[in-house]
């Protein structure tokens, strides 16, 4: 008797596709963080420049996460009674770093230097829209190559492959 073929490939492929798409779609989610930091309070309400905390954006490839010492420069005396600030103080007193979760990522095959953009006068909100109104960091745009190319074409700057992929 001929056995009825069990075609496992179809459901498996569907599952794979679902998983693959959901992984790709993750950029819109809110990532849980150890401290409910508010970008809105710092940037919009108190008018702090982004580079006050992310100070390496004009000097380095990376936009740094501020050190605990940087937080405590102000929060030794400001808003010390707030529960989230108390959490920061606890990390400081224990001399432990705050284990932030990564929100924004650029794939490894892309070289993206923050300093080039910042020093060319591109506003932080161009690529990070809504960050000034957000609580913890959010990523509202998907960083695909199309987004980069569109802007580079508009500004008539290089679109050579090797500029970003090397």
């Amino acid at each position: 008797m001929a056995r009825r073929p069990f075609n496992a490939a179809i459901p498996l492929a569907c599952l794979a596709l679902t998983l693959f798409l959901s992984a790709g779609d993750a950029f819109a989610e809110t990532v849980p963080q150890p401290i409910a930091f508010s970008h809105k309070i710092h940037v919009t309400d108190y008018k702090l420049n982004c580079r006050f905390c992310h100070s390496s954006t004009n000097k380095s490839q990376y936009a740094n996460i501020p050190s605990v010492e940087k937080c405590m420069m102000c929060h030794r005396s400001i808003a010390t009674d707030k529960p989230e600030v108390k959490k920061v103080a606890r990390y400081w007193n224990e001399k432990k770093p705050i284990p932030w979760n990564k929100v924004i990522d650029v794939p490894n095959h892309v070289y993206f230097p923050h300093k080039k953009m910042v020093n060319a006068g591109i506003s932080c909100l161009t690529c990070h829209p809504g960050m000034d109104q957000a609580g913890t960091a959010v990523q509202k745009l998907e960083f695909g190559m199309g987004m980069c190319m569109e802007c580079h074409r508009k500004k008539k700057v290089t679109i050579d492959c090797w500029k970003c992929h090397y």
């Binding site: 989610e29 390496s56 380095s60 770093p97 932030w100």
Partner: protein
Amino acid sequence: MLDRRQFLKLGGATAFATLFGGCDKVQSRLIPFVIPPENYTLGEALWYASVCGQCPAGCGIVVRVSEGRAKKIEGNPLHPVNRGKLCARGQAALQALYHPERLSRPMKLSGARGSGAYAPVSWEEALSLLMGPLKKVKAEAPGSLLMLTEPMRGHAGLVAGRFMKTFGSKHRVSWDPFGPDAMLSANAAVYGVRDLPEHDLANARYLLSFSGDFLETGISPVHYAREYGRMRGDRETIRGKFVHFGPRLSMTAAAADLFIPCAPGTEGFVALGIAHVMVRDRLTIASSAAGRLLDDLGPYSPEEVEKKTGVHAHDIAAAAEEFSRNQPGLAIAGTGAATGPDGAFHCAAVALLNVLAGNVGTPGGVSFPNRAQAFAKYGTEAALLAPSPESGYAGMRTALEKIRGGAVRMAILSGATNPAFTLPPSLKFNEALSKVPFVVAFASFLDETTSLADLVLPVPTALEAWGDDLAPVGHAGAITLCQPVVGPLHDTRSMPDVLIAAAKELGGEPAKALPWGSFRECIENAYGGPGGEMEKALQRGGFFGESSSSRSAARTGNVAFPKAAERPIGGDPKAFPLALHLYPSITLYDGRGANLPWLQEMPDPISTAVWRNWVEVSPKTAAELGLAEGDGVTVTSPSGKITAHVAFNPGVAPDVAAMPLGQGHTRYGKYANGRGENPISLLPAGETYTLQATRVALAKTKLSTTLARTGHPEGQWKVKNMM
């Protein structure tokens, strides 16, 4: 049973899981610093200039520091000694910095002395343990304090010297196993200057080297390697010729145009043979000196020298003629010649060639820059900052006698020269040190010497410390500054810092002599402090650009003829048929590099062996003794016995057994211990520290180990033909 279909299904599922399993949302963490390092920018490297502390050559380095961590060391391009180059030992300083066995806290002895059992204590407790005996010794017998260190240069030497002087003790010994004692005495006799010479290789047209391994382990290998490169290739139409005499084909010898093997301990006779031909055939430039030497040189005709040394008379005559016709030419005596039983004679005989060629104080010749001039503002104390580079062997022997006589109640040890490993065991250093009631050691690692202490105080490595330095050669009068390139990785304090703190607590004279709050303050006071000249100098690595005046060699017109003491190498030639030739290892130096895996796994350039030591013999000698490549042998001398593997080297002189130094540690951590045995245990304890002091016998034995080599001893030809 798994049929084909099921197998394919399972395989497919596995492949699917493997492919897409990684697509889950993995949240990676971003961990910022609690307190960021100074001048820190994420992702941007900083380069800090400092001094290499891996050997006494004093090369300038620049260290790439990312995120507050030292990542890579390179030579400082501005530094006059090494001009941007650095050797493997210097590169390996990173491994010393991050070494898992580094001492991170003070430790006090918790078992019997010498057992190596220690318990960690706080710095407060450690300092009180130090100050108790120190105060007692100061009050009762200040002269009974012994300070035994590696040679200390710059302000570290000033702090140590002043501390001992105001404490009231004269027992300060600096030990360096490769201290050029013989060369210093020879220079005093021939040139009238008891100092290290600068050899201007770059401008020489001809170079005669006598057992001089100046490209590997000499006084300043990186400096001379660069100068040698310039001699060979920096001039349009001149390519300097290099002829090497010595008992073994070393890496330096392999770089020569002509390598002529001679019996160990006969280098001086070859030089006198060359001098004989120069004088006899009127080939000398400095004829005034030549006339007086005619009679003295009479017995050293090339034919006579051939009998003594095994070098053909026509080779000697040819070398003499070429050397004379290609001026400026240089003659250099190296470690092999200087560490023989009659080292001062060999060095003097070689120096004589420079005098005969009229190459003293001229470009392409020998000169003597005044090292102490850089610290002239200290007057008589300048000698503390730029000490004479003697090995300190005589001082060591005197100190050991005093210890045995009960005249030492407390000893302070410091430095990487590890006397318990580098002194012949027959000198009984360990036994003597155990008689000292209290021993404190400053160290980054426990080794054979520091593990004999009652109290071990951890020090920062050269990459974490402040300091200053004046290199022994090639310095051009420039003082190099040493600064921490990274914050201290462990709870360490430098020896000068502890001495300054101790002086403060002792009060009185010591406190007045060391008035600074810390060693950093001492350095800053000396060089104008931050914000001034020192800031710029720190960025460049030191005060470069000033040239030092050369001290003229006063006595070259009236040279004393070097007298051979004809001291034979120890041991009965019948019972011990081979002369033992010990040479510093290009990777491990005197053994201090043995705990760094980078250096252990770096093949020796000639034998290509790694991770162990070996005994090199020529294939002919080995055949006579019935030994094959890789065989285990016992090497027996009148003073000791060790085992090693045979490595053929067709470039070793007949009847010579050559061994590298540096292996054979017993208490230097997991990377150093148990890798062969220490060849220094074969040496007798003589009046001078001589490495070529004994004869040995080789006997085949079975060893459980094998010798790992990265190349075939007979080279690529053999490998190709076997394939």
